[in-house]
Structure formats: C-alpha cells, structure tokens
Symmetry: C2
Subunit: 320 residues, 2 copies
C-alpha cells in the first residue's frame, strides 16, 4: 500500500514514519511506498525496502496534492497544521492551512474518486471550550475559544460529511495534550506539561508556572502514534455516526506528575523543578478540559497510557 503523510517533517509525522517502517505493514498489507509532504523537505532514512518519497510542498498551493492523489494512495495521514498560537496570531494563515487545505484534500479525494482511501486527521483538545461539564464525553459540544480549535472543529464536520456521503473514508482523532515531547521548552502554554518532566530527567532545571493541583488530560507520543496506526485499522463502519472523537488520554495533576518523576528518577530530579506561578499561563490552561469519558475510542479499541510511570519510562527508553 501507499501511505501519504502531510506534515511529514513535523514531530508526529517523523515518529509515525519511523513506526510505520518498523512495522512494515498496516492493516495486514505490506507498505510499499511512503510519501512525506511538508513545507521543508522531510528527513527520511536512506536504506530500506520501502520506497520513501519526501516532497517539499506548500499544501495550501492550488491543486498542490493533485498529482499525488491521482496515484490513489491507500491511507493519508493529514498532520500538516499551524499550531494554536500561530493560528491565533494570523487568522488568514490558520484558515488557509488548517481549514482550506483540509477542504482541498477532501475535494481532491472526491475528484479522484478515492472513496476507499482512509483519510486520517489529527484534531485537538483545543476544540473544546465554553461552559464545559466536569467530565466531558463523546456528546459534549465543541465550542472552541481559539481560532485553531475552530478550524479543527470545522474540519471534523467536513470530514464527517464527506465520509457520510461515501466520498472518502474520513476519520478524525482528537489528541489529548502530548507529554513528554522531546526537545526544548517552547512558547506554547502547554510547554510546561513536558518541561517539568523532560528537563529534570535530562539533569536540567525546569519552571512550573501552574498550581500543582491543576489537572491535565495527557497521552504519550508513543500512544498517539499507536492510535494513528490503529485509526487506519478500525473498520470503516465503526466510525459512524460521527467520525471524530477524543482519544483515551489519562487525567493527571501536576502533583501526580512530580510524584511519578520522584518515583522514577529520585527526589533530586523533583527538586530541579522551580515553582514560579504565571497567571497568564494558569488562566489559559485551567480552562482546558481534564476529565473525559472516552467511551467511543475505547469501544473501538484505542488504548491510553496506563499511568505516568509508563510515560516517563518510555521517554527514558526512547531517549537512549
């Protein structure tokens, strides 16, 4: 089969590539070809028996994906996106990349009659907002309070409708906050969710800008990648009536994160976290939902992390 990954140079795109190559197959079919698309040419490994094609391409360009869709890929992972702060800072950019490019991709699939192609998109917990209940479930409204979440929610609706009409096999997974992301702290409000574990594990100092009783809904990068794989393997009919839902993250407080850090890496690691409350960050993240009943995802066989210890141990294993 031929798999396309948009956003193939990104964090999840690169990890998904590695995992697909490791597996060699998806849904019981050998992977013959992998096309990775990104603004910058994605890095790809050299020697393997899979044909890997990296493409530098702006997916917002007119008919950008047309030649590729004409080759009738079996699975498309649509991961290209501008993140939350960029979409908030530039409405046009966010609409173009996060919404219009998704619509163009759907139209491309329709035009090339790719009714059987599995189109898998990553949505986000940022699509939730408004007067949320304590525990969200599969029927909780998406009332986003940011443009990124708005664009993701609009894509969900459109992918669901194209899927319902049989124009493509559309599938959307809403991702929890991902921890532990490798790399450096960044400007994202959620940066601390990785930072307060990653930096101490690397022997460095970290800053915790939120109260320790703050709860988050998290998933490890490894589990997210497994969910993307599983998302291509669940039968099409199981996705109806609405082809988007939340993945089974786990609810953890910052205190529990630090406790697990201590268990795995000792109290010295925990002492590397300085507590410097930041009201702006706290105000943003305390509106994020932290408790979900993810019944649909579980019914369809998606699996979350078992606990924080497992998340931390996986990070240490993968780092080495």
């Amino acid at each position: 089969m031929h798999i396309v990954i948009t956003g193939g140079a990104g964090f999840l795109g690169q990890r998904l590539l590695a995992r697909l190559l490791e597996r060699g197959e998806l849904d019981g079919q050998a992977i013959r070809r992998l096309t990775l698309i990104d603004q910058v040419e994605p890095q790809v490994p050299t020697a393997t028996d899979v044909e890997i094609v990296p493409l530098a391409m702006d997916i917002t360009a007119p008919r950008a994906l047309d030649a590729l869709l004409a080759e009738r890929p079996t699975v498309i992972y649509h991961l290209a996106a501008v993140v939350s702060s960029a979409a908030e800072g530039d409405l046009d950019l966010g609409m173009r990349v996060n919404f219009d490019a998704t619509r163009a991709l759907l139209e491309g699939c329709r035009h090339h009659a790719l009714a059987e192609t599995r189109l898998i998109m990553a949505s986000s917990v940022a699509a939730y907002g408004g007067d949320l209940p304590d525990i969200l479930d599969d029927m909780t409204a998406l009332q986003p309070q940011n443009s990124y979440g708005t664009q993701k929610a609009m894509c969900e609706l459109l992918i669901n409708d194209y899927g319902r009409r049989g124009l493509v096999d559309g599938r959307v997974l809403r991702l929890p906050t991902i921890t532990i992301r490798p790399g450096r702290p960044n400007a994202a409000a959620s940066s601390f969710a990785s930072s307060i574990l990653r930096e101490p594990l690397n022997g460095e100092e970290a800053t915790c800008p939120v109260p320790t009783d703050l709860a988050l809904f998290v998933m490890s990068p490894g589990r997210v990648i497994e969910a993307l794989i599983h998302g291509a393997e669940v039968p099409r009919t199981d996705w109806a009536p609405f082809r988007a839902f939340m993945l089974p993250g786990i609810t953890v407080t910052v205190a529990e994160m630090l406790e697990a850090l201590g268990e795995v890496a000792g109290e010295e690691a925990v002492s590397r976290v300085r507590h410097e409350p930041d009201e702006a960050i706290t105000a943003i993240v305390s509106n994020w939902p932290a408790r979900f009943d993810t019944a649909k995802a579980r019914r369809l066989g998606f699996e979350g992390d078992r606990n924080l210890r497992e998340i931390i141990e996986a990070f240490i294993r993968e780092r080495s």
Copy 2:
C-alpha cells in the same frame, strides 16, 4: 439604522420585513433603511417612511455584498440559504450558498471594519445528530447527519470565532421546526408538521405520514420572527462564550397537535387528517431531537410559544 436582510424574498425574510416595518424601530433606534437581497428581487411594500431597497443578487458571486457593506449597515440578518434537500442533493451548491457565502460575509465585515455590526444568522435543528441524549441542552454536540446541518454547524463555528476576535458582532439562532408555515405541502420531510394543521384549518384534507406518538420541537413563525428581533437587542456580551444556541421551541406530539386542532376547530377538522404511515419519512423525522433544555436562550430572554392552541390561533388570525 440600516438593516440588511439576505434571503429577503424568502419565507422568514418577508415576514421579518413586515414586522420591522410595523415596529419602525429596532433596539430603540429608528429604522431608516432596509436592504433586501435575494436571487430574485424581493417584493417590498411601496409607500412608507423607511427607504426599502430590494436587490436581485447572487450572494455567492465574488464580492457580491462589498458595496453594501461599505455603507456600514447596523444589523445584517443573514437568512439566505439552500434548504436541506437541495444541500443534500448538490454538495457544491450547499457549500457555496450555505457556507462560502457566510464566510465571505464575515470577511466583508472584517474588511470594512464592521466590528459593531450585528450579524444574525439562522441555524437549524438539522445540525444535531448522532447518538443524542433524550433531552438535549446547550452543551450537546452538533454531529450532523446531513450536509445542510454540517454547513450550518460550520457557519456557527466561524461566526463564533469572528465574534470572539471582535471582527463583527456575530450571533446565531438555531431554529426549531417551524409550524404552521403558510402555503402548500412541499417535499421537505417536515412538511406534515404544518400540513396536518394548515390543511384542515383551510377545510382541506391532509395526510399524516408518521405515528401519532412522534414528538417534535416546534416554534410558530411569529415567535421565530420575535426571536430574530430580540436577537438584535440582546447585549453583545451576553452571547459569549459560544454565540450560537437553540431557541426555546416547545415539545409536542402529533397526537397533541391533532387534539389542539380539535379544540380550536372541532372534530370535523381532525377528521380531515388521513393516517397513511410512510416509513421513509418516519425514519428521517424520528431521528430529530424533540426535547431540549434551552437554558441559554431563556436566560437571554428569548420566548417560545405557550402552547399549540396559541400557535393555531395565531395562524387563523394572520390568515384572515
């Protein structure tokens, strides 16, 4: 003030025009000008002290509304739409009229810096779908099972986001099933909801295609128009955090509709309704939600009909 009505030749557009002229003011300001836009030139009354401008115009044409927006209208009622069956039959048409034209209108407001202009759109109960709870509320997800509902839900998200960003004063009202619509039965699955009352009241026969225990969520045309008026008068800040919600319809069964018909017009009227179960229609309408807790609409002062009797009596009064 200058009020624009898109879809001004339509059922609600014409009634809204009549009501606005009757009132002469909106939100305490005298109405000086009314612009009605539709594919076909809207009918407008001749003599009055308000300047009424009917415009024949396709709102999907590029920059269709540009000249009008340059005049900085105070309130825009965006009622132009292709209905459910047309949007289902022609995806491109539905996307163009129901979604792209709304987006263009939002962009036009942004371009002309109409941050204070109230943009009021009519959404629909058709935006609901999926595994709905018995009683829906303001946090029930929109998981539409038709393209019309999908397009309306996408407009809600976009209007909310432009409103949140302060680019326009965006407001969306989700309308219940409207009964009693004047006119003739049509191809809509909901046609019977008006037909089984209207035809007997007019001394004609009607067909009821659904079981009498079927429940519907309904609102009279008069109350819908009052809601559109009130929608321009509620303070802007009251609409946050999500600028779209369901109007307070009332839940009625077909049996209750026929009972009220008997009370107002006698048993002879009821006997004009023939019961001819239609499985196709029953299948469609039994998925429509019938019970809502419309807390937000009620908190903002929107009012529903008191009962079926009132709905029927209003129809008789307006007919004469």
